[in-house]
Amino acid sequence: MATKRTNVLPGFNLTLGFTLAYLGIVVLIPLSTIFFKTFTLTWPQFWAAVASPRTIAAYRLSFGASLAGALTNSVFGFIVAWTLVRYEFPGKTLVDVMVDLPFALPTSVAGITLTAIYAGNGWIGRYLAPLGIKVAYAPLGVAVALTFVGLPFVVRTVQPVLEDLDKEYEEAAATLGATRMQTFMLVIAPALIPALLTGFALAFARALGEYGSVVFISGNMPMRTELVPLLIMSKLEQFDYAGATAIAVVMLVVSFLLLLGVNMLQRWSSRRLGEAQDA
């Protein structure tokens, strides 16, 4: 720091001051209330809320279905990203644009349309019902909705990394006698793993908190198809703020840990890319 450049640009105090004030009012103060509220609970009260059988069943479904959705997206999202970057096919631009639909479509619209499709008399549900597969109002429907909301994450994290991946590495591998499969497993896959993991974690985190698209398709039956956000909602509707707060704190801590994990993944990934470019 021997030669620090003088910054001639104005507005630092104004913009940083406004940023911090707005952040405080809109985000930090509301967020702090939930932790203050938790401290007003006694330990047994807290424990009763976060570890009741109904809550445990909701955790199990929320984590299980979110995991199923994120894993589905990791496999198929990767294939979508791969085809979009590497191949030409009719309708490619349309597919590329529509990947972001789950970000743009309001969740209540997604919820009712998925329910209509997968209900026993729906477009797809009617073919699955005779096979004994129940999607809507069953855990499978929850997983379908959570796959929908997480769809863009894996595609949009893998796609740019795949685009930047230099074909020279693959050519070098080929020149050195690697088969296509070897090239994929040993050259391409390792470069994509951080992006894939990031996409997986983002899709998982999004699915954990999702409400709108699952509330209709789940049927919301306690112990069976009730997810954690739905449980919080029903506690709020019964004015059980203490119980809702306790469960919300658990979910917030999980979300923040996931966010931390994603940040570490991204740092790891950019360091690896940096090394690759230096080499």
Binding site: L9, V26, A174, Y211, P229, L236
Partner: protein
């Protein structure tokens, strides 16, 4: 020499075999069809399932119009506030070094990682009639929770990071040379902002606005918690859809949904169009510099 060996110039180690290519494209299209295209088509088919007349009747219904009005009003407040915040935050973060910058960036992202239901709940805890602040306001006749102000606040919270997250990298990519030149040549702060900064980031700003607007108009979970579901009074479009659906008025629910689906499709098209122009062609500038140097 065996016949099966392919000596075509296409390199088998850098190109996928045609059968793999066709299989992967089919899988990708089937997945996208199942999860994206069929749901979108279903919205419109269901919307018109009771006829065109019923479709328009559902949209011009007074309750539907009240919901549309509240949705537009909420976005009209939340979007400018968060875009203003985005400009301020991106200026401070992209143009200056200060301790705690990384922490600030993480804090800006918080609303992304909070469940919509919990987001709404924060405002119920803070401003509901049982809370100290909410109780004080209620005693003076100001209702926030279960009323419009609560909906607006919850919407501001969930859309908070969107504009800032788009503007920060764009502001960083544009660089500060032109702004420094403007200041050194004697421009005032606002002059520099309106004549240099704003034109440089205008597409990024519009991009942030479009994303923020889509989320503001479509938010459901957070708004659902603070709205209290008062019919025709505090319904936004997504809440009204839920009420219609739970009333078994499916065609009407999908008719209102089709408007939001059109908004989503318009958002995606605008996004596609804007993505390419968000950063004013930096490589070209380098080319010019290179040419001048040569």
């Amino acid at each position: 020499m065996p016949e099966s060996v392919d000596y075509s110039p296409k390199n088998p180690a850098t190109e996928d075999p045609p059968i793999v290519r066709r299989a992967l494209i089919s899988i990708a299209l089937a997945f996208m069809g199942l999860f994206v295209f069929i749901p979108v088509i279903a919205v419109f088919v269901q919307a018109f399932s009771s006829g065109v007349g019923a479709y328009f009747a559902a949209i011009v219904d007074p309750e539907a119009r009240a919901a549309i009005r509240l949705t537009l009003m909420t976005a009209a407040i939340a979007v400018p506030l968060n875009v203003g915040f985005g400009i301020a935050a991106s200026w401070a973060i992209a143009r200056f070094d200060f301790p705690g910058k990384q922490t600030l960036l993480t804090l800006i992202d918080i609303p992304f990682s909070v469940s919509p239901v919990i987001s709404g709940m924060l405002f119920v805890l803070l401003l509901g009639v049982r809370a100290p602040i909410g109780g004080f306001l209620a005693a003076h006749g100001v209702r926030i929770i279960f009323a419009e102000p609560g909906i607006v606040l919850a919407t501001i919270f969930v859309t908070f990071p969107l504009a800032a997250r788009e503007l920060i990298p764009i502001m960083q990519a544009v660089g500060s040379e032109e702004e420094e030149a403007a200041i050194v040549l004697g421009a005032g702060g606002w002059q520099m902002f309106f004549r240099v900064t704003l034109p440089n980031v205008k597409w990024g700003l519009l991009y942030g606005m479009v994303l923020c607007n889509a989320r503001a108009m479509g938010e459901f979970g957070a708004v659902s918690v603070v709205s209290g579901h008062i019919r025709g009074h505090t319904n936004t479009m997504p809440l009204y859809i839920e009420i219609l659906y739970n009333d078994y008025q499916f065609a009407a629910a999908f008719a209102v949904s089709s408007l939001l689906t059109l908004l989503a499709i318009a958002t995606l098209i605008a996004k596609r169009f804007l993505e390419r122009r968000v950063v004013p062609a930096k490589p070209e500038q380098d080319e010019i510099t290179a040419k001048v140097a040569a």
